[in-house]
């Protein structure tokens, strides 16, 4: 009797497995892993999830992908790298998601970028902007890290292009904070400036909690800098422009996009907040498509300035869906091939994506898609002047 019993068990187990996998086959799971509650950037994560949910609703309303519905599995990483790593394994191994969107914090993406590559499971970033997130592990390694968001290095390229093409700027100085964010920006600034033949007259640093940068600015002033490129978070940029007022020194101020934070605006005050010029993907002059999504999500969005992340994440999901459709499969390697070579254009909120990625380019948005932005009467609006108008895509080369 024994052999028969084992056979029976095996048969039962087999059919049970077949049934459960048939039930799961109905839905395609997409993961989100990012900070939703623990740091000030949690608002960006919340907006991102709203954008993904909106995109999933739209796709499911149109019949899903490969005849199957999409569902979202959300994991909060509390902005902690260890938790974020754990979430990646949980999403990919236990939840069997076909791709992961997020994370909110660049540092967390850098902490787990080896996991999507090892498990051959595509990750499409739509919030964090650190340059290295989408870099392949080695020159010819298969790369499963993609992004639909800003990229620090592309912003730096934009700031350098503006400086280089503005005839009024004779001397430029670099001002960065002493954190990892500031130092990463300084590296990009120095490399791209050198490539473009731009030599800073001074490089100064300040602490993220400093309240007075007059010493650094006085050095800039005596070095004759008539433009400063600033890489720092929102509040220290605000302290910097406040210190500029103290010594009455207002060079052309080009900054990282952190100047779009509400905390920058509040700390700098209404008038001084209008000094910096920076790049952003969306201003308050929205396109009709952006306005439509904004109106749809506004009631649920805690911070309106985080809307850009909702739009990025919406597009990231649309591109993921297009890749599944083209691959005819949810297997990672096939999705990667499709992502690297998308045939049909993807209608997104930011733009229509024609072949957004290739084997070597994993950024869907580049400097040419960014908008020059500044604060005006308490709003983030498009900035323009003769220099901006004359900039060509070729000026943004990295």
């Amino acid at each position: 009797m024994m052999p028969n019993r084992t056979a029976l068990k095996t048969a039962l187990l087999g059919s049970a497995l077949a049934m459960s996998s048939a039930a799961y086959a109905q839905e395609i799971k997409i993961g989100f892993n990012g900070d939703l509650s623990a740091s000030p950037s949690a608002q960006s994560g919340q907006a991102g999830v709203l954008g993904i949910q909106a995109a999933i609703e739209d796709i499911n309303a149109a019949g899903g992908v490969l005849g199957r519905k999409l569902t979202l599995v959300v994991r909060d990483d509390l902005s902690q790298p260890p938790k974020s790593i754990q979430n990646m394994s949980d999403l990919i191994d236990n939840e069997k998601v076909v791709a992961v969107l997020g994370p909110t914090n660049s540092g967390n993406a850098l902490a787990w970028k080896h996991i999507p590559n090892q498990k051959k499971n595509p990750s499409i970033g739509c919030i964090g902007s650190a340059t290295d997130i989408t870099k392949p592990a080695s020159a010819n390694a298969e790369n499963y890290m993609y992004r639909v968001s800003m990229v620090d290095r592309a912003q730096v390229a934009g700031l350098i292009a503006y400086t280089k093409n503005n005839p009024a700027i004779k001397n430029v100085g670099f001002l960065v904070e002493t954190t990892g964010y500031g130092q990463g920006g300084l590296k990009d600034l120095q490399e791209l400036a050198e490539a473009k033949g731009l030599k800073p007259v001074a490089t100064e640093k300040f602490g993220v909690n400093d309240t007075d940068m007059t010493s650094q600015l006085n050095k800039m002033k005596s070095a004759g800098a008539d433009a400063v490129l600033v890489w720092a978070q929102g509040t220290p940029i605000a302290q910097l422009v406040r210190s500029m007022e103290k010594i009455n020194y207002f060079p052309v101020t080009l900054t990282s996009w952190a100047a779009d934070n509400a905390s920058f605006f509040d700390t700098a005050g209404k008038t001084l907040a209008e000094k910096p010029i920076f790049m952003r993907t969306i201003t308050e002059d929205r396109t009709p498509k952006q306005q439509q999504l904004f109106d749809r999500l506004a009631p649920k969005m805690a911070s309106k300035s985080a809307f850009s992340f909702a739009a990025h994440c919406y597009d990231a999901l649309m591109i993921t869906a297009a890749a599944i459709k083209q691959a005819g499969s949810t297997e990672g390697p096939k999705m990667r091939e499709a992502l690297d070579n998308l045939q049909a254009p993807v209608e997104g909120i930011m733009k229509t994506y024609n072949k957004p990625f290739s084997a070597s380019e994993h950024e869907a948005l580049t400097a040419a898609d960014y908008r020059w932005t500044h604060w005006k009467d308490g709003k983030l609006v498009t900035y323009t002047d003769d220099v901006v108008k004359a900039l060509k895509p070729a000026d943004f080369t990295q």
Binding site: Q216, I247, S263, D266
Partner: protein, 306 residues
């Protein structure tokens, strides 16, 4: 010339803050031979008590990241400063009773851990109540830059400096002239003898913690219009203030004050040379002071007759 005056002014403004907090360290150290390592959290807590009071007094609503400027006008800001000082003082009594008294005077370093832990608890409570975002607090004197011989300074920075000097002079007088001050100095000298002389040593120690924590709370509301209120704002200031106290001499309240100003001006001056070397210079100086004058630069001057 402007540049050096600017450096001096900026340094004195930040030095006033360091001095005020350093004084708080000195008060508990001289009376109880313990320190409140939660001083940084008391600063942040005080700042948010101030924010809450400003909104309560004015009946205005706050945006998530700023208090409207009308909320700080007239009597409201001074009232908020006093309220924050009082609440922080009460918390100081609490930290003494719960986290210091059980361990004070005994061997070991238990009070270091228990005051640090109290700070972590305070911060977690603060995060639950006020959230992690920094809040900009308006200055009661407005935000326009004042020019002094070509150097620019904000009214709030002068206010902090003035308040710091005022509080320090007042405390100095109380400590040296009044019975309470003399009692505190007696306890500092020797709790046993003070007790034999009929001084209620326990009460004096509670008072010292209340005073020290109250100063931190007041400092929080005073700094908030400069640095914006944040639950993470205190640690940096407290560490610098502690350094100032070490440089000046923990045993000597006046020395702590000088230490605060020296540190502020030094930081500002190093910024004129190489800003990224600032922390290295500051902590290098501390190591030098500890090596050659372990009691602090003004440590010797601490010999006071009681």
């Amino acid at each position: 010339m402007d540049v050096y005056l600017q450096t001096l002014l900026s340094g004195l403004a930040i030095g006033g803050v360091y001095a005020l907090i350093a004084l708080g360290f000195s008060i508990t150290f001289t009376t109880t031979k313990t320190l409140n390592f939660a001083q940084g959290e008391f600063i942040a807590f005080g700042a948010f008590i101030g924010v809450t009071m400003l909104l309560l007094f004015s009946g205005l609503a706050s945006t998530t990241t700023a208090v409207p400027s009308e909320a700080a006008s007239a009597w409201r800001y001074p009232a908020a400063v006093i309220a924050a000082g009082a609440v922080a003082g009460l918390m100081g009594v609490l930290i003494f009773l719960l986290a210091v008294r059980p361990f004070a005077g005994k061997g070991g370093m238990n009070w270091v851990m228990s005051t640090l832990g109290f700070g972590v608890m305070l911060q977690s409570i603060g995060l639950a109540v006020w959230g992690p975002a920094p809040v900009m607090v308006p200055s009661p004197l407005g935000d326009d830059v004042l020019r002094i011989a070509g150097a620019g300074v904000r009214p709030q920075e002068l206010l902090v400096l003035a308040c710091a000097i005022l509080i320090m002079v007042a405390l100095d007088l109380v400590m040296r002239r009044s019975r309470i001050g003399k009692a505190m100095m007696a306890v500092a000298h020797s709790p046993q003898i003070a007790s034999l002389m009929g001084i209620n040593v326990g009460l004096v120690m509670i008072g010292a913690f209340a005073l020290s924590s109250g100063l931190a709370g007041v400092a929080g509301v005073l700094i908030a219009p400069i640095a914006s209120a944040s639950l993470f704002m205190g640690i940096g200031f407290a560490l610098k203030a502690f350094s100032a106290a070490i440089i000046g001499g923990l045993n000597n309240p006046r020395g702590c004050i000088y230490g605060g100003f020296i540190l502020g001006v030094l930081e500002s001056a190093v910024g004129l040379w190489q800003a990224q070397w600032r922390e290295i210079v500051v902590f290098g100086l501390i190591i030098l002071v500890l090596a050659f004058r372990p009691a602090g630069l003004f440590g010797q001057a601490a010999v006071d007759k009681v």
